[in-house]
């Protein structure tokens, strides 16, 4: 049993718009991350992945719920305490073009996290920068170049190097591969896996690409309209998917080797607006198996097996996910 590194309990985040209406981005999200483990998050646009990421990174504060790091409550950290906490949780971003300040050279970008926490003489600083570059497989002479003179893939690796400068325990990847071509994607993923193995990094991997997420994640969390619908192991997701939404998502992944005789069944309807989340199960408006109870009450998270939870009334008989997990 490994200690839970980062835990979120009932994280909720709302935004108030100009005309007074409330947009609920995240609703009572529970989440656990462990060392050396990758948690993948999938879902459509607007499902709340990015907001969740910002909450975990403490770039924003949750309106409700608690966030704990290594058992310590970090929900209300502010000021210098929050700044000092930063070394534990790092992030790499979706758009490699925007992730780096155009007027800063590579070495300065990499040295910035180091300078924020350690007082090193410049020679040592330079040495650490070279080490970081080496870590992600970038040549040392890149240090004197500007980020925009590098390719997208190289920049993402640079972002990774920056994130790793402080030896964080948790790495949040916000669609880090979305803007990359396939080969660069591959490179980056391999790097992540290698680093996880070596350093015991806990990785949160948000992604659109189901296939990629499957190959990378130990566990996968499926989100919809700010709520978690299902949590299941990454391997064999295709076979074990329980929630109708997860099944539909999987059904939308086409591959060369798929069964062409089966008809394509797209989901009916549009995603409701997060300003106006339906009562009951958020998915009920589009669910082919919608029942009367689905319209009235939100399904609680139920345990199908020790490593598989689902929030759906179809699994009425299953045990409700207990508060404290004893895995």
């Amino acid at each position: 049993m490994s200690d839970c590194l980062l835990e979120g309990r009932g994280l909720t985040r709302r935004y108030r718009r100009e005309d007074g209406r409330v947009l609920t981005a995240c609703r009572e999200v529970d989440l656990r991350m462990f060392p050396g483990e990758t948690l993948g998050i999938v879902g459509e646009s607007g499902c709340g992945k990015s907001t969740l990421m910002r909450l975990l990174a403490r770039l924003e504060r949750p309106d409700e719920g608690r966030l704990l790091f290594k058992g310590e409550d970090i929900t209300d950290l502010r000021g210098e305490a929050l700044r000092r906490h930063r070394r534990h949780i790092q992030m790499i971003f979706q758009d490699p073009a925007a992730a780096f300040f155009p007027r800063m050279k590579v070495w300065e970008a990499l040295a910035e996290p180091l300078r924020n926490f350690e007082k090193l003489p410049s020679a040592q600083l330079r040495q650490r920068v070279d080490e970081l570059l080496d870590l992600v497989g970038l040549p040392a002479d890149f240090a004197d170049r500007y980020p925009h003179s590098m390719s997208g893939g190289q920049r993402q690796r640079l972002g990774l190097a920056r994130a790793l400068a402080l030896h964080p325990e948790v790495l949040l990847c916000d669609e880090a591969t979305a803007a990359l071509d396939v080969s660069s994607q591959q490179q980056l993923v391999e790097l992540l896996v290698e680093l996880q193995r070596r350093e015991g990094l806990s990785i949160l991997f948000v992604c659109h690409d189901l296939a990629l997420v499957q190959s990378l994640s130990h566990r996968i969390m499926v989100m919809y309209l700010g709520t978690v619908l299902e949590v299941l192991p990454g391997a064999g997701i295709t076979g074990r998917a329980a929630h109708p939404y997860t099944k539909a998502l999987l059904g939308s992944v086409f591959s060369i080797s798929m069964d062409f005789s089966r008809p394509i069944e797209p989901l009916q309807g549009e995603v409701p607006s997060p300003l106006d989340i339906p009562r009951g199960c958020p998915f009920h408006t589009r669910c082919p198996h919608c029942m009367a109870v689905c319209r009235d009450s939100r399904p609680a998270m139920r345990q199908l097996s020790p490593d598989h939870q689902v929030a759906c009334h179809l699994f009425e008989g299953q045990a409700v996910q207990p508060e404290e997990e004893s895995q």
Partner: protein
């Protein structure tokens, strides 16, 4: 990319050239920019003076070159500080958000709506004026543009990933601001600043035009431009060259800013090149036609509507009189200006009237008696007098007018008028006897000069019974309508008692600007104009036989009080000063004839025996120097300034910009420096200067005073009486005091005249004050339209019945 880089360096080079001109000014200039040779004033460009000379005889080329320093430096300081202040506040507001943002933006809203002019004057007052306060004022209202710009730039990048990454890396806010926000905002701000240099330079120049910016002691293009305005036609180079300097600088800096922007944003180059030529020509033609059509329609409409209006000419004999408006009201109780206005336009009259020697003569009152104690005056009102509305002018009517005057100007009685009749005559007791036609005036104390006092415009006789609707007097013209700010329409007073009134109707047209007055006269839009003060217009109209110029050395004396509590207590010094000054040239050339030279404190035009006075200190520079040498006031340390009691002489000279006083002060300073007397000149506004004057903090201070407001110079002469003189230089002479005290109680005219003559000579012999001259009043008329346009000595009367149509 290459092209834009070349352009940038080209314009940067040009800009640096301009700055270099300023830096190396001493090497480039041909003369000392402050060296004034009064005799050489306003000369055209020549081999000796490449740009000609200005009104003080200073070389214009050198002044323009030296002006580069002040103009460029002040503009750059202004622009840089606006950038720094606005940029910093904008960046902080954008980054911090929340309450800080709200506060800063509210402040910006406040300052942008604040009228810069008001701020400039207030700051000038608090800080003593000059370029610095103008810079501060412009800064205070202009920083907001940069703040908003910076803020919007910051808002754009605040949510960028790299900022989030920086925060994730644990970077402190301070560092984010400094390393990310500032470099992001700075280029745009700098480009904006470069393009704003020109505009800022013009703002500073504009402030000079309104008298708020550079003082005459600094060499600045805007100020030179403003000075040259008066010589637009006679010495156009005075405007052309400084204007050219401004133009070139503005263009260069604007192009610099543009090229900088192009350099930082190279994508602009490829934008407009693709469209086909043919279609573009058609578009071009279309747009030109559109623009031309709009303008043409506009102009046509304007001219048509205008033409229609203009043909509404009045029947009969009409006069167009252009004059400066001092007041929107004609009611004597409102302000002193309104009382003067009503009299000047020929609407109101008093019981007495000043003749051209400024002696009060009977007017509405034809005979009078006075008691021996000079307290009780019995004034007989002329028989058969009527107001212009036909109501009879009875002693009761006169009493009512006077009582209203005092009541309406007394706050305790609920009066709202700002006139102050009590300073001339404390409220007397009035009794009217309509049967005998007399009004009895019992004064609070002996008042020997009641006729003079009652000739003052405050005491105009108006019809109180209709005063709510109109101001009705006894003058030759009556008011038909008044449009504040525009003019007054007058028509003949059919009941006028004193001869025929030449015009059926008169339009008094208010004109604010002297050049405009001159142009209006020349174009025929007005036939008669008073007091043109711009030098070139004055010269032109005087020399042109189509125009008649009547000049009177009026009742105002321009002088500089001397502070006897300082170095000027030394008589030899004072004598030398008077002898060093070329008053004739100053009056004729420096102030372009606005003054008549003289050496007594009372104007030569008055009846106080000016021709019997002698001047022991006529203009003689050598004699001045000799006097100083003999008195041992010499320059021992070779710095060009003489010493008195071991210290360099440095006279503090205060002047305000009114009626050319600052021109005199400047010219005098320069002449005194020629004989080795140091002068520090401060030019500011009336209030600041008089405040300093009352505090006694001066050696010399200018003044322009109406010497005989009520026909008697006693008040003015009182400035040198030891009891009063603390505000006028602490002059004290027992002989003078004795004369003054005698004058206070003397009632016999002959006795008074003798005392006054003696007092004038005492002051002259004591070299007690510098007399600049007597301010001229003038009336200008078109010979083909008007005759008899003479100006009276005392400027209460403009539109008289002597002014008639030409035959």
């Amino acid at each position: 990319m290459k092209g834009s880089r070349i352009r940038f360096f080209l314009f940067l080079g040009l800009a640096l050239c301009i700055v270099a001109v300023g830096v190396f000014a001493p090497a480039i200039a041909t003369h000392d920019p402050q060296e004034a040779v009064l005799a050489n004033a306003t000369q055209a460009p020549s081999a000796q003076h490449w740009f000609g000379t200005d009104k003080m005889g200073r070389d214009l080329f050198s002044r323009v070159i030296y002006g580069t320093r002040t103009s460029i430096l002040s503009t750059l300081i202004l622009v840089v500080s606006i950038l720094l202040v606005g940029g910093a506040l904008g960046i902080v507001a954008g980054y911090c958000g929340g309450i800080v943002d709200t506060l800063i933006m509210r402040l910006a809203d406040m300052m942008v709506s604040f009228p810069g002019m008001a701020l400039a004057i207030a700051l000038a007052g608090i800080m003593g004026g000059g370029l610095f306060s103008a810079i501060l004022a412009i800064l205070a209202v202009s920083w907001t543009k940069y703040a908003r710009l910076a803020r919007s730039l910051i808002l754009k990048i605040r949510s960028q990933d790299y900022i989030l990454a920086a925060r994730m890396s644990g970077t402190r806010n301070r560092h984010i601001l400094w390393r990310y926000m500032v470099p992001s905002a700075l280029p745009t701000l700098v480009v904006t600043a470069a393009t704003d240099v020109g505009g800022m330079m013009l703002e500073l120049a504009g402030f000079s035009f309104l008298g708020l910016g550079a003082r005459s002691t600094s060499i600045e293009w805007g100020y030179m431009l403003n000075e040259g305005r008066a010589y637009m036609e006679s010495a156009p180079w005075l405007m052309i060259y400084p204007g050219l300097a401004i133009f070139i600088t503005v263009v260069v800096f604007n192009l610099l800013g543009d090229s900088l922007r192009d350099l930082l944003d190279p994508r602009e180059e490829s934008a407009g090149q693709t469209p086909k030529k043919k279609r573009r020509n058609k578009d071009m033609k279309r747009m030109k036609q559109c623009a031309a059509a709009i303008l043409a329609v506009g102009l046509l409409a304007g001219l048509l509507t205008g033409c229609g209006q203009e043909s509404g000419e009045t029947e009969g004999v009409h006069l167009n009189f252009g004059c400066y408006s001092y007041s929107d009201s004609l009611d004597p109780v409102v302000t002193v200006n309104s009382s003067w206005a009503a009299m000047r336009y020929g609407i109101t009259e008093c019981l007495f009237r000043f003749d051209d020697q400024v002696v009060a003569q009977p007017n509405l009152c034809d005979t009078y008696e006075v008691s021996d104690d000079y307290r009780t005056w019995t004034l007989h009102i002329r028989d058969g007098l009527q107001f212009s509305n036909g109501n009879p002018v009875t002693p009761s009517a006169v009493q009512a007018a006077f009582e209203r005057l005092y009541a309406e100007t007394d706050a305790d009685r609920g009066g709202t008028g700002n006139s102050n009749p009590e300073i001339y005559l404390p409220e007397p007791e009035l009794t009217a006897d309509d049967g005998a036609g007399t009004l009895t005036v019992v004064c609070q104390g002996p008042t020997s000069n009641l006729p003079g006092i009652l000739a003052y415009p405050y005491f105009a006789v108006i019809d109180v019974s209709v005063v709510e609707e109109a101001i009705v007097g006894t003058g030759p013209y009556q008011v038909d309508s008044m449009q504040p700010g525009i003019g007054v329409e007058l028509s003949r007073n059919e009941h006028y008692w004193n001869g025929s009134v030449p015009y059926d109707t008169v339009s008094v047209i208010f004109i604010e600007d002297s050049s405009t007055k001159s142009m209006a006269l020349q174009s025929g839009d007005v036939d008669l104009v008073e007091n043109i003060t711009t030098a070139s217009d004055l010269q032109k109209l005087s020399e042109d036989p189509d125009y008649y110029v009547s000049t009177a050395a009026g009742v105002r004396t321009g002088n500089s009080y001397m502070n006897f509590n300082g170095p000027l207590g030394n008589k030899a010094l004072r004598e030398a000063i008077l002898m060093a000054l070329d008053s004739e040239t100053m009056c004729d050339v420096t102030v372009a004839g606005m003054y008549t030279a003289g050496f007594s404190v009372l104007p030569s035009s008055l009846a106080y025996n000016y021709d019997q006075l002698t001047n022991p200190y006529p203009y003689d520079v050598e004699a001045a120097k000799a006097t100083l040498d003999e008195a041992g006031i010499v320059d021992t340390d070779g710095d060009g300034i003489r010493e008195l009691d071991g210290e360099n002489i440095n006279l503090v000279y205060l002047a305000y910009t009114s009626r050319n006083l600052n021109d005199f002060a400047e010219a005098i300073s320069l002449q005194l420096q020629e004989i080795g007397i140091g002068v520090t000149l401060t030019v500011s506004d009336y209030d600041t200067i008089t405040a300093l004057q009352n505090a006694g903090e001066f050696d010399l201070v200018t003044a322009n005073t109406t010497t005989v407001g009520t026909g008697d110079p006693q008040d003015f002469l009182g400035c040198w009486y030891s009891g009063n003189s603390q505000s006028y230089g602490f002059y004290s002479n027992p002989a003078y005091d004795a004369c003054y005290e005698a004058l206070e109680i003397a009632t016999d005219a002959g006795e008074r005249l003798e005392l006054i003559t003696r007092m004038q000579q005492i002051l002259i012999d004591d070299a007690a004050t510098i007399v600049h001259g007597y301010y001229n009043s003038r009336m200008f008329s078109r010979v083909d339209a008007v005759t008899g346009a003479e100006i009276a000595t005392i400027d209460y009367y403009w539109l008289t019945t002597d002014i008639a149509p030409a035959q």
